[in-house]
């Protein structure tokens, strides 16, 4: 370089580099997640999955991308143009913003906010706004129904998700994702939170709520093909639908990445390079998400809501209490046994409580 660059240009250059990295990583992970999903679900159903385009179907995402781009973009006439147009953009923005906070490797966090975790939760809660715009904007009863269902689901699963993250913050004492990963560095990089009783339970709850948050597999009521065509993105085609599709897959990547960061020790690992550990853990969690999709049938709305409010929420509250006890108790086996005992007892108790749930007889207002 001719002369050294003035320092403010360096700052902007570093910002641009991280932006470019994320802008490249986001869509590419999305493309290859679609391929991974179709291959894995195929293999689970004794078929091969796409292998025509490219060596093992590796160019299939490109083919899908081109198809999505060239598809005609239909806007229904009664649709509200502004909401209909803005919705896909406003769904992809949070999905991409959230990449800034995820620690991909030892020094590889794009923006090390000291409120990183809260940033993640706040930004991922704004997607309800975009879903509202999509469902209300397209003036179609299927998308309205899908929109209502997905917002109800996202709101009711956000509460246990946020509360299940509180024990991690309580133990590490900081909201920054990097500090959380550093706090899991003991025993040569294997002292993950999932090996503590409260960590295991919080991980399960966080992961379930994460799956519900991105409207995937057992919780995919909002876009239930069999019932309401395609939920809130019924009236979208072409590039706009591709944006919805991209947002959903990027959300599933970020949720798995965050679950790995919070409970599986992010990039902490004994021998391999830090970023490899991170991506291995994230892809294992993504595999589990796809595995859910290959196995579980769809939840009914009331089962969905019962699970969130009557089972997961009380469990997280007890979990926070146990994590508090864990924080102050001395580091002995007694602490482990007691907290494990309390948690399994409460799990069993809550399950017993929810067992006898018989839906009350429906009162029909008009039809007798």
């Amino acid at each position: 370089m001719a002369g050294f660059l003035p320092d403010w240009v360096l700052v902007i250059k570093s910002v641009l580099i991280s932006i470019a990295a994320i802008a490249f990583l986001g869509p590419v992970t999305m493309m290859y997640l679609t391929l991974l999903e179709r291959k894995v679900v195929g293999r689970m159903q004794n078929r091969i999955g796409p292998n025509r385009v490219g060596k093992w179907g590796l160019l299939q995402p490109l083919a899908d991308g081109v198809k999505m781009l060239t598809k005609e973009d239909i806007v229904p006439t009664p649709a509200d143009p502004i909401a209909h147009f803005l919705a896909p953009i406003l769904i992809v923005v949070p999905a991409l913003l959230v990449f800034a906070v995820i620690p991909f490797g030892r020094g590889m966090t794009a923006v090390d906010l000291n409120v990183g975790l809260l940033f993640f939760i706040a930004i991922s809660s704004t997607t309800t706004l975009a879903i509202f715009m999509a469902s209300w904007g397209s003036r179609n009863k299927f998308s309205l129904l899908g929109g209502m269902r997905s917002v109800a689901q996202m709101v009711s699963y956000e509460v246990p998700m946020v509360l299940s993250v509180v024990p991690v913050i309580l133990i590490t004492g900081s909201l920054s994702t990097n500090d959380i990963v550093l706090a899991q560095g003991g025993w040569g990089g294997l002292k993950w939170f999932i090996f503590t009783p409260w960590g295991l339970l919080a991980f399960i709850i966080f992961y379930l709520c994460g799956v519900a948050e991105c409207n995937r597999s057992p919780f995919d009521l909002p876009e239930a093909e069999s019932e309401i065509v395609a939920g809130f993105h019924t009236e979208y085609s072409g590039m706009k639908f591709a944006l919805f599709y991209m947002a959903e897959f990027m959300n599933s990547f970020t949720i798995s990445a965050l679950a790995a960061t919070l409970f599986l020790g992010g990039w902490q690992g004994p021998v391999l390079p830090s970023w490899l550990w991170f991506f291995m853990k994230t892809y294992v969690l993504i595999f589990i998400m796809i595995w859910f999709r290959g196995t579980l049938p769809r939840f009914r709305v009331d089962q969905l809501m019962n699970l969130a409010w009557k089972f997961l929420l009380p469990l997280t509250l007890i979990n926070i209490f146990v994590a508090g006890f864990w924080y102050f108790a001395p580091n002995t086996i007694v602490r482990v046994l007691m907290s494990a005992g309390v948690l399994s007892l409460s799990f069993w108790g809550l399950q017993k409580l929810n067992q006898g749930y018989a839906p009350e007889k429906r009162v029909y207002q008009f039809g007798d």
């Binding site: 003035p6 320092d7 403010w8 700052v11 902007i12 509200d80 502004i82 909401a83 803005l86 906010l113 000291n114 409120v115 809260l118 940033f119 939760i121 706040a122 930004i123 809660s125 704004t126 309800t128 706004l129 509202f132 715009m133 209300w136 309205l144 209502m148 917002v151 709101v155 956000e158 004492g173 900081s174 909201l175 009162v363 207002q365």
Partner: protein, 171 residues
């Protein structure tokens, strides 16, 4: 580094202008759904202003609670009460001119007050960064009473709202 500060400063002023414009739209737009969306834009703008004031925890809480929850409530209410045909009725009543006059007068009054009076500006005014720990310390030590009262208030609001909005059982 001064160029960077200028860029950031210009960004903040642009954000403020954007929020004021969105606020004006939120108040005047005829279609209520668009008004709610503009209001969401104002909220995000204000979260940006909080960030510029180094209050990042508050900015995140603002986004989480306002855009995440309150907006959902407002839009649910709009959806449940909006009949398709009637958003053509004029949204503002006869008070428009009088209210506009009052608005301008009060704007000028407040602005002169805020510019004229010499506020006791601290010397390390913009520099101090507040860590979440200090915030939590303040919230749970010096202000623990309002914290508990707020939680009681929230519970009562929760129950009250459910009772008001509940469909009365057809006996």
């Amino acid at each position: 580094m001064t160029h960077l500060y200028d860029i950031v400063k210009f960004g903040i002023y642009a954000l403020m202008a954007f929020s004021v414009l969105a606020a004006i739209l939120a108040v005047t737009v005829r279609n209520l759904f668009h008004a709610a969306l503009c209001f969401a834009a104002v909220l995000i703008g204000i979260a940006g202003v909080f960030l510029s004031l180094h209050a990042d925890f508050l900015a995140m809480v603002q986004i989480l609670i306002y855009v995440g929850a309150v907006m959902t409530l407002v839009i649910f209410a709009i959806m449940l009460t909006e009949r398709f045909g009637d958003n053509s009725s004029p949204q503002n009543n006869s008070l428009t001119l009088a209210a506009f006059g009052l608005a301008i007068v009060s704007l000028i009054a407040f602005s002169t007050i805020s510019v004229k009076t010499r506020w006791p500006i601290q010397e390390n005014a913009g520099a101090l960064h507040l860590s979440v720990g200090e915030l939590a310390y303040a919230l749970l030590n010096t202000y623990v009473l309002p914290f508990e009262v707020i939680s009681v208030l929230l519970i009562t609001t929760l129950i009250g709202a459910v009772i008001i909005a509940k469909k009365d059982r057809v006996s």
